[in-house]
Symmetry: C2
């Protein structure tokens, strides 16, 4: 998917919501456990109920890998279902990969070609030759961790490197990577005030923003500091939506929560 197609979808739906599919057998409604593939059954129900309210889905691969082969099968079925039933939706494999050159190419092929995801999250620690192999894929997007929304972000990401926080160094350096137009960035909502300076470094790129809601970030603040001319934001919510209820009406409850966020987004898009 091109960036423009994503932007068009945002305007059409008046939403820049991404729903995180962190699907956990211990948290999904008990009646689904009788299904042949409870994880896929849950995901399918959530997707069918919410696809008109969001523009992206983001399965966190850890939740699938935790169940070994079965989990990978559920992930494959989920992305196949998204690509066949809702091809307009942007798909993110939240895998936080990164390795040396030829190994990164392996990961890129696995997620961009085998599974046909539109994008993949990547950790920056290993630098240029660990990131550039992902950027070679046309109309695929590499979402680099810049500033994450967890407490440990302050261990290294906000440490000063030559008078500049490490995450800003990551933003600056990554701009020099080949095909950097295929980059997006993870920027946690819990530090919304940081977005102003981040936008000075990368005015044009899309930001994937976790941490709105459950982790305490404010949607309004994120938009005030982070929105650009092409919107440029994907706001992720996982648990707050998919685990809104654990009864038989879980999918409707999820849709209600998604609708609330979508309504706020519609207002923010109109008033900008």
């Amino acid at each position: 998917m091109t960036t423009q197609q994503l932007v068009d979808q945002i305007h059409k739906k008046q939403s820049f919501l991404c729903i995180g599919l962190d699907t956990d057998l211990e948290k999904i409604p008990a009646h689904l456990l009788q299904e042949e593939d409870p994880i896929f059954a849950f995901n399918k129900a959530i997707i069918d109920a919410t696809h008109h309210l969001c523009v992206a889905y983001k399965p966190n691969t850890a939740f699938y890998e935790a169940y070994g082969l079965k989990g990978w099968k559920s992930l494959e079925k989920t992305i196949e279902y998204l690509n066949s039933s809702y091809p307009e939706l942007f798909t993110i494999a939240d895998a936080k990969r990164g390795d040396i050159g030829n190994t990164s190419t392996r990961y890129a092929k696995a997620f961009f070609e085998e599974l046909n995801f539109d994008s993949l999250t990547i950790a920056p620690y290993m630098g240029r030759d660990s990131v550039e192999p992902f950027l070679e894929f046309k109309d695929k997007h590499t979402i680099l961790l810049a500033l994450t929304s967890n407490a440990g972000a302050f261990d290294f990401q906000t440490q000063s490197v030559d008078g500049q926080e490490l995450y800003k160094k990551v933003l600056e350096t990554s701009k020099t990577y080949k095909n950097s137009e295929n980059l997006m960035y993870v920027v946690g909502a819990t530090k919304a005030e940081f977005l102003k300076e981040i936008r000075q470094i990368i005015p044009e790129r899309f930001l994937l923003v976790p941490g709105v809601g459950a982790q305490g970030g404010s949607l309004e603040e994120v938009c005030r500091y982070g929105m650009n001319e092409k919107v440029g934001l994907l706001i992720n919510s996982s648990r707050g939506i998919i685990y809104a209820s654990d009864t038989r009406d879980f999918a409707e409850s999820a849709a209600q929560e998604a609708q609330k966020l979508k309504n706020q987004m519609e207002l923010l898009l109109k008033n900008r």
Copy 2:
């Protein structure tokens, strides 16, 4: 496996060699492609031919994930074969994972419990709460990326943070993590002279050292600067051993290359 069991094995075998199982369908001998599971067939032959010369095996998970479900099956069969046939060998899932707390716990369970690996490589960028969930597992080892052997290592890892390179900051900070005795570190051999200062920060921990041979590092220098009282080194070689030959005698050729490194290690252990 406890660290002491690993040390005992090193002394018994007079080797601290780790063999990287970066198994690639495009590089393995053509006659294996007729097997039901060519990747496992290749790994099994390599393991059977080399297990007495090394103390550890390290499959890089990217090579398996690249083949989707089939690849994961090959990885499962490989670790099951190692655990059942050669339980004395230390096993490393080279997965370079790392995520926020509850997600890291998922990865820990997947690799330490489901697959029963002894250890897992982890990227440090997300800090404390992304690493500590791995450290809770008794007799399991978390191998943190500190200084990698690729060119991109100079993008961020060697940048100065408060007058100290980032990788040293990672070493220092990680020492304060809960259960930090379960940490080991990745330190590339291409920067062997850096090992002296690294040993001042973490005198006791094991180092997993890639980049000897193919990437230009010298085994002798690594040992001079990096060896501690308990040896404290695992030297990894992947392509130089497993792809020594692509004919029917590939396993014997791999064993010959492993034997050469093992002989050098034996000498270095005797002369220290």
